[in-house]
């Protein structure tokens, strides 16, 4: 009995350790930002919303959402550059470690000061089990964390629908690694 309790405790700790925590200092950025977007949706809310996504055009979003365990977005727009620092992002970046998380896109543009990082969480069957996007330019910082299974088709829909053009990904193809600095 004692062993089972220890195992459950350990398993819980490991599972908890794999969860991404939005850094507390991000909330402080909201005070400096001219525009803030904050979305926090847990699995229960997503499942509830999926039941009511019956309008025309909701089908694609519903199919993505019903599998997910959480969607978390923090987006800050600033009036002038330099309102956030690398340290603000670093505490999030430090949680996105291999082998659970894999950085698939890393673009740093010195000229424009725009950076984009995309991380995939992979499960034991090599399927995508989560996505983190960190997009930063001098006057804007956006962090997106989608917790739950996503297939390449979902990524194509994410990049293509909802008012933005489609990403050109091949059907069923594993997302290609693109690391460019």
């Amino acid at each position: 009995m004692k062993r089972i309790a220890i195992f459950v405790l350990l398993a819980g700790t490991i599972a908890f350790g794999q969860e991404i925590k939005m850094p507390v200092n991000l909330d402080k950025l909201a005070a400096k930002a001219s525009e803030t977007t904050e979305v926090t949706l847990n699995g229960r809310t997503l499942q509830l919303a999926a039941k009511f996504m019956n309008d025309e055009g909701d089908e694609e979003a519903r199919n993505i959402v019903k599998k997910l365990k959480g969607i978390y977005v923090r987006s800050f727009e600033f009036d002038k550059p330099g309102e956030y620092s690398e340290a603000d992002i670093e505490s999030l970046r430090s949680q996105l470690k291999s082998p659970i998380w894999e950085k698939v896109v890393n673009v740093h543009s010195k000229r424009e000061g725009e950076n984009a990082e995309i991380y995939f969480k992979t499960d034991s069957t090599d399927q995508i089990a989560g996505l983190v996007v960190i997009a930063a330019d001098p006057k804007e910082l956006t962090i997106v964390h989608i917790d739950g299974p996503l297939d390449p088709g979902d990524l194509e829909k994410l990049g293509g629908d909802f008012g933005v053009p489609r990403l050109e990904t091949r059907p069923q193809a594993k997302p290609a690694k693109a690391g460019a600095r």
């Binding site: 673009v107 997106v144 990049g159």
Partner: protein, 119 residues
């Protein structure tokens, strides 16, 4: 041993019950059981008299139950619609950032190809 202890000992000493004690207890029990069984029909009669008061009370409970269920459903629907708007916003932001990253990767690849061609 003081006086109090002696008094307690004598008061609490073990002694046999008087003769016929068990029989008297059993007789009391039998009488109580008979009285209970005689009272049952009377309580049913009282219940029958109260039925006219119970029916509106039950109806009120049912009406409240249906209203509460509807209220809960409306609240849930409101919550779901608000969540749906947030989902669409989150997916739009995610989509635009993925598209931006894709464009940047393409631009970097284009530049690399250009450099390779010039070499």
């Amino acid at each position: 041993m003081n006086d109090l202890e002696k008094q307690l000992r004598s008061a609490l000493r073990r002694c046999d019950p008087p003769t016929g004690f068990a029989e008297r207890v059993m007789a009391h029990l039998d009488r109580d059981t008979d009285r209970d069984s005689q009272q049952k029909p009377a309580s049913w009669k009282r219940w029958l008299k109260l039925r006219w008061a119970a029916i509106p009370a039950l109806a009120a409970i049912l009406v409240f139950g249906f209203w509460f269920r509807g209220y809960e459903q409306r609240q849930q629907e409101k919550e779901a619609l608000a969540a749906k708007q947030q989902i669409m916003l989150a997916l739009r932001i995610t989509g635009s950032k993925l598209r931006m990253a894709k464009a940047k990767v393409k631009a970097v690849e284009g530049e690399r190809r250009k450099t390779e061609n010039t070499l």
